[in-house]
């Protein structure tokens, strides 16, 4: 049994414009100590997935069906009190916007020690001491001095360190980090990723990292799930996804990244954009943008299958590479003929780079 098992999760938002299908039969697992990436473009359902784990989906949203098992217990059956104990204690969350995650009218030290007192039941002095240790462990210089500073006295990167310190203060087993570095400059992003990596190793904390940045996933994650329009379209250990992508959307994403040192004249693009999740295209949701789409793609919804066997994938128990494309179920007459080029020996390897015949170009 994995530490976290999500099975057939369906989240819906009942809005005035219609029903938003934010996640659709989403299944995955995160092992203890593992780093699991969730990647996809805006509106893919990444944040909804994370909020569902914390049971933080509010009106007009509902978790319609599915199970979320954490250490074997279904979170969706817990009462509010049990959930509160779990949040911030066994599962902690880090958001993109550190500034709004912190309360501007309390000092950062107070905010951390309050979390510690609440979850660990320490007295004030002990909580203060632990809070200072935690601030130190996330690389805040002169932690004891800065304990009594207010959030606005910290830079963006430092604020994110404070948020991480709050997440860490209770020694969680799982941290859900939703775009933790997106608002930061690259040199600060590098510092924060390094810090998260140290933490994951030192405390054996599992991290579910949500990002739109394939570079961040490559650097940080063991396994990855690519999401498109509320569906998992590809799931595999990170090397498989990068060196041998099996879904046309993954290929498109990789080839649109601008890379330093490639001499392509034009960037490759995926034409069009993600559909809105109220009225999704029939069959394969990706077909209006897919260079390999055939008639069958407009009718048949591709299931997530093991790309080797074509059998339905079992993301909770198996590591096999899985993708949701008719090319893997035998229902596509053509082939996905793109080329993954890896840069030479001296150069770092580059999948999906350059002359991939997945060449989808912009109008």
């Amino acid at each position: 049994m994995a530490m976290l098992e999500v099975e057939d999760l369906n989240v819906r938002f009942y809005t005035e414009d219609g029903v938003v299908k934010a996640t659709n039969d989403l299944s995955y697992r995160v092992e203890a100590g593992e780093r699991f990436g969730v990647v996809g473009e805006s509106g893919a359902g990444k944040s909804v997935t994370s909020l569902a784990l914390m049971r933080l989906i509010d009106e007009p949203g509902v978790i319609e069906s599915g199970e979320i098992r954490f250490k074997g217990r279904n979170l969706l059956e817990m009462d509010e009190k049990e959930m509160r104990e779990l949040r911030g204690n066994e599962i902690a969350m880090i958001f993109q916007d550190a500034e709004t995650a912190l309360n501007p009218s309390y000092t950062v030290g107070e905010q951390i020690s309050e979390a510690i007192r609440y979850h660990l039941g320490l007295d004030e002095a002990a909580a203060r001491e632990r809070a200072i240790e935690t601030l130190e462990s996330v690389g805040i210089p002169s932690a004891a001095q800065r304990y009594s500073d207010y959030p606005h006295e910290f830079s963006g990167g430092m604020q994110q360190r404070v948020v991480i310190a709050i997440a860490l203060s209770c020694d969680p087993d799982l941290i859900i980090a939703d775009e933790p570095t997106t608002a930061l400059d690259v040199t600060i992003e590098a510092q924060i990723l390094e810090l998260l990596e140290e933490i994951a190793t030192e405390f054996d904390t599992a991290i579910q990292l949500i990002t739109h940045d394939l570079g961040v996933v490559a650097e940080f994650c063991d396994r990855v799930m690519v999401m498109y329009a509320g569906h998992p379209v590809e799931m595999a250990p990170v090397e498989d996804v990068y060196y041998d992508p099996q879904h046309p959307y993954t290929v498109g994403l990789m080839s649109s990244i601008p890379r330093i040192g490639d001499d392509r004249d034009r960037l490759q693009t995926i034409p069009g954009r993600m559909p809105d999740l109220i009225e999704m295209p029939p069959g394969c949701n990706f077909h209006p943008r897919c260079p390999y789409a055939e008639e069958s793609c407009t009718r048949v919804e591709p299931p997530l299958v093991d790309v080797e066997t074509g059998e339905p994938a079992d993301p909770i128990n198996s590591d096999a590479q899985a993708a949701a494309c008719l090319a893997h179920t035998g229902e596509l007459s053509g082939e996905l003929d793109y080329e993954v080029t890896v840069r030479g020996e001296d150069d770092p390897a580059v999948p999906g780079d350059a002359p991939s015949s997945a060449g989808v170009s912009d109008r």
């Binding site: 805006s42 932690a143 590098a190 739109h212 990068y242 990244i257």
Partner: protein, 438 residues
């Protein structure tokens, strides 16, 4: 305009803002300047693109806006087609805006939500009295078509479009007046990668077809590399390095360029390059570091010639120096007892248990004892007087190297034989043979 005159020439541009201050500060005349842009010069040729890259707060957008005089420059000149626009009157400026346009990072907030696309673009035409009647509608359709939007959507409102489509509308609005130059201020930073690539391609196509020059501002080197003919890397209001993409990505590189490049996450799980992690964050532009503004974080900061430092030791000593100067070490929170205190101080400051040079070690120990007594000023002076580096005393100027122009003493022959206190030789004239210390 003479044949050799570039389309845009920026000379010694400065933009200072007054820092936030309270009543007492003003009463005591303690008003301070934020030096957002601190003497920047560059040129852009017709139909070419200059990419301007740097971290948040380094002054990129202030440059973009000062060039268009959306903000008044504090000093310096901006020549557009040979004419200094910093001296133009308001009405002259209005005419000029027909030729210089800007597009912004957040199309959502830069487009009026109450106007249809038709009106948004029409407004730009009207302001400059360009087209009217039937030809006006035809022009709007043509513009929408040109940026890849369905002309039948002209009567829709901004909220009915996606971020990428809104950015196309922003581009159409800029194109409406047929400009020769567009400032693109982070135009793709808020977009998804697949859409980002569409917009970058569109901008390149427009340049090819219409010969528009761009100042393309971004915080991401990999984005500008694709579109730029020349790239300028900025740090704290100054240009650290400028050159063609090939030059910029080839050695010699400014240590900051090197760090920025190495920080870009590689979309390759087996990539094993060395990531350069910079300490801390960009210092405040209110009171920027002396000498080279990067010296408080530079991993290659030049060691004093009279001592034998490992580079990492020297970096740690420089950080100690900086923090004593700022009195930024909370001594009372460390373990008491001389030995324990010394050990935790060294630990906090990343100083090895002993330095490889015994003489340097003695000085550092003395400084640490002063720190332990909270005699920060004395510790700082001791370190500064004993260990001299040009990086903290002399400001580097941009000078020609084998690959682009770099503002760093490492590539200045005047410092080749170690630090001197003199001023560097004349800028530009010395075609500095680039040296690299490893």
């Amino acid at each position: 305009m003479s044949g050799s005159e570039p389309l845009l020439r920026v000379e010694g541009l400065e933009k200072y803002y007054e820092s936030e201050s309270d009543f007492i500060d003003r009463l005591l005349g303690r008003q301070q300047n934020v030096k957002a842009v601190d003497g920047v010069s560059f040129e852009i040729n017709e139909g070419e693109t200059l990419g301007l890259v740097g971290e948040s707060g380094c002054g990129k957008s202030s440059i973009g806006r000062s060039i268009l005089r959306l903000r008044e420059p504090t000093a310096g000149s901006v020549y557009f087609k040979g004419q200094d626009i910093t001296t133009l009157s308001d009405s002259e400026l209005r005419d000029l805006r027909k030729e210089m346009q800007i597009i912004f990072q957040n199309p959502q907030s830069s487009l009026n939500p109450r106007l249809t696309v038709n009106d948004i673009i029409g407004e730009a035409l009207d302001i400059h009295g360009i087209e009217s009647g039937v030809s006006r509608d035809a022009r709007i359709k043509e513009l929408l078509d040109r940026v890849g939007l369905n002309a039948s959507h002209a009567n829709r409102y901004p909220h009915e479009f996606s971020g990428g489509q809104l950015q196309r509308i922003g581009i159409a609005r800029a194109l409406a007046v047929d400009p020769d130059f567009i400032v693109c201020d982070e135009p793709v930073s808020a977009l998804d990668v697949s859409v980002q690539a569409q917009i970058l391609n569109l901008l390149e196509d427009l340049q090819d077809e219409l010969g528009i020059a761009y100042l393309f501002i971004a915080h991401d080197l990999s984005v500008v590399e694709h579109i730029a003919d020349e790239i300028a890397v900025m740090y704290l209001g100054k240009i650290a390095e400028i050159g063609s993409p090939e030059e910029l990505f080839a050695p010699p590189q400014h240590p900051y360029t090197e760090a920025l490049l190495s920080a870009i996450p590689e979309p390759d799980p087996l990539w094993e390059g060395d990531r350069i992690l910079l300490e801390g964050s960009v210092p405040s532009p209110i009171d920027p570091p002396s000498g080279c503004k990067f010296h408080t974080r530079c991993p290659r900061v030049i060691p004093p010639a009279d001592y034998d430092f490992e580079q990492s030791e020297w970096r740690a000593v420089m950080s100690l120096r900086h923090r004593t100067r700022e009195a930024d070490i909370a001594v009372e929170t460390f373990d008491a007892g001389e030995a324990a205190l010394m050990e935790s101080l060294r630990d906090e400051l990343d100083l090895p248990p002993t330095l490889s040079d015994p003489e340097a070690e003695e000085v550092v120990q003395e400084a640490l004892r002063l720190v332990a007594d909270e005699e920060f000023a004395r510790a700082a002076s001791l370190l500064e007087e004993t260990f001299e580096t040009p990086c903290s005393t002399d400001e580097p100027v941009l000078r020609e190297t084998d690959a682009g122009r770099v503002a760093c003493h490492l590539f200045d022959p005047a410092y080749e034989s170690g630090p001197t206190r003199g001023t560097p030789t004349d800028d530009g004239s010395a075609a500095g043979s680039a040296t690299s210390d490893d």
